[in-house]
Subunit: 342 residues, 2 copies
DNA sequence: GTTTTTATTGAAAACGTTTGCATGAAATGA
DNA sequence: TCATTTCATGCAAACGTTTTCAATAAAAAC
């Protein structure tokens, strides 16, 4: 079904139909014809070809097509497997719908090396982009080059050196706060499980420790991937040390979940003998035994705010290099306690 | 940058450039010109406008554009929050990439009422569709009507009455097997937590029970949403009954996770006093305390097979109404045991 | 009754491709 | 040498829109 079909059916010109459908002003066609056109549109479920529209409108996109895209970095944190991913998508999509936008999704390696994908992304008819996770900057540059017409984008949990508008939780501060929380409980031998390279949570951990006069003990730092199994294995390793840590900062809840199970298997009681703190406040975390003390990061709000920010940019204009921090807080549940052998 | 630009730059015709770029056979242009064309393409990063391409190719899509889409039903099981979702996406995408396909994602209410979305989907340049979850059939029909050029699609975990090619795990049989597993352990008072309406796992549960001569006790059936919190509340309710069940079939692992925590809070020991079985074999399930006995459903394989099936259809032709069942199996871990007070 | 304004409509060009057809040149075969 | 085949290339139409321009008819103003 095309404009032409409708036009023929009614014996009017294509232009008339087009004008009616796009409703430019009131004086677009005689009321009777308008009605008949809409009737056909409704009956046949006619949808204008966006291919044709895009083509025609070309560079000067006057009329918005109201499509934005989400570009997820696949590795390793913005991982599609992560609970982050699903909740984020949901909140983004809901917020977008609220503004009348459609969301398209793309998943990419963080280096966006896949040219084919870039191509698809390029002419996918999107006006704006939410770039999720730690793409490296060269990626972003490459992407901009593709969009010679200025593409509007907003980062969400971007890499530290991001130069574009973004919205994030201060990962460094999360590291600091979680660690000093453990320190305040009297712990001195604090371990870390998680990624370390380019991971600001880890930086926060180290600095917080140093500021309190504790050297970060190398044996207590386990550099590993952010999954449950890694948490499990890592804690087992830590617990087999001669001098066990009394507390562990797990970089995310999945690791923490694995760690809790490892402690159980090695008959180490939590929190009596070992305190564990995670990050994310995953749905699961409050059903674990013991319930996990963790840092709540406002995933839903992050998604919603990023979408809102993108929306504002789309209406107003271009990047202005703002970094917006959303607050986080520690949720005390059952997995942390005062250090006994202090 | 367009074909025209390239053509002008080299003083050849647009057709020549187009032909070179699309490489129809060897005898397409003089070698020298070919080289110069490719040189410019590389230098300028030219990408053909898919808008124009789509428009031109229109109905007779001869050349494939190698794009498929995933249509997720949002409610309630194919929920975007579910671990299903993320793992499924990953396996689908990996398999698709393997065939050189790009995946686009769409999330929809299960009734696909959102016309705008249908519109986007319609001309999103896709060749094939993986329809995930329990869309109702009217939805599918509506969709087909939109795609007057026959759209190829494959269902994944479709509703029971699906009339199209699909791939699935036999939910009914899962219900039967899980239940008879519990029966074999000597349990008679078996409860069910989860969805009941149109839920074949539940049907399997009921029938298995009846076949063994136990009536399904109404008090033991808690109809609820498939989330951890619901599992938590539901089990609490069950445990406050005068005559407690000795085993619970949780419709998925999330519910089971909540249930485990509820048992813990009410000082009911698992599996000594209560056996719990879940379904899904989520990443979490083997880190719970106790480790969850659950039905492993091959999520990754489901995704991969659906993609492969779609791929085959795309190459070969149309729907032939096959239902392909993938095997599942029970993973015995720690949350189920013989019934003691039997 | 003429002129001006306004409302309604259609023709046609343009967006960037792809492709059938035509053409001319070069190469092959006799 | 001429007839044929093969190769290289361009022209032009088509895909479904949007939009400018011009044309007509009707209404309003004089």
């Amino acid at each position: 079904m095309t404009l032409k079909d409708i036009a023929q059916e009614l014996g009017v010109s294509i232009s008339t139909v087009s004008r009616v459908i796009n409703q430019k002003g009131a004086h677009v066609a005689n009321k009777d014809i308008q009605d008949r056109i809409w009737e056909i549109v409704r009956q046949t479920g006619y949808i204008p070809s966006s291919a044709a529209r895009c083509l025609k409108r070309g560079a000067e996109i006057k009329e918005k097509n109201r499509v934005i895209a989400c570009l997820y970095a696949r590795e390793p944190i913005g991982n599609i497997d992560s609970p982050f991913f699903s909740r984020m998508s949901r909140s983004i999509e809901e917020e977008a719908l609220h503004y009348g936008y459609i969301v398209k999704y793309f998943f990419t390696a963080s280096d966006l090396d896949n040219v084919e994908k870039l191509g698809v992304l390029y002419d996918s008819n999107v006006e704006g982009l939410i770039i999720l996770g730690r793409h490296n900057l060269e990626t972003i540059r490459k992407m901009r080059r593709f969009f010679n017409k200025n593409i509007i984008y907003v980062g969400l949990n971007p890499p530290v050196d991001a130069k574009y508008d973004c919205i994030l939780c201060d990962g460094y501060q999360i590291g600091v706060d979680a660690t000093s929380y453990l320190i305040k409980l009297g712990h001195k031998n604090i371990a870390y499980i998680g990624e370390t390279k380019n991971e600001v949570r880890f930086d926060g951990f180290v600095n917080s420790l140093e500021k309190s006069g504790f050297a970060a003990n190398k044996d207590y730092i386990v550099s590993t991937m952010p999954y449950a199994e890694n948490g499990y294995q890592s804690l087992k390793k830590l617990l087999s040390l001669d001098c066990r840590p009394t507390a562990v900062f797990c970089m995310n809840d999945k690791i923490a979940m694995g760690a809790i199970r490892a402690a159980q298997d090695m008959h180490v009681r939590i929190p009596r003998e070992l305190s564990i703190i995670g990050v994310d406040d995953t749905e699961s975390s409050k059903y674990l035994i013991p319930k996990l003390t963790t840092v709540h990061v406002p995933i839903d709000e992050l998604g919603a705010m990023a979408t809102k920010m993108l929306y504002d940019r789309l209406e107003k204009g271009h990047q202005i290099n703002i970094k917006m921090y959303l607050p986080f807080y520690i949720i005390e549940r059952e997995s942390c306690a005062k250090c006994l052998n202090g």
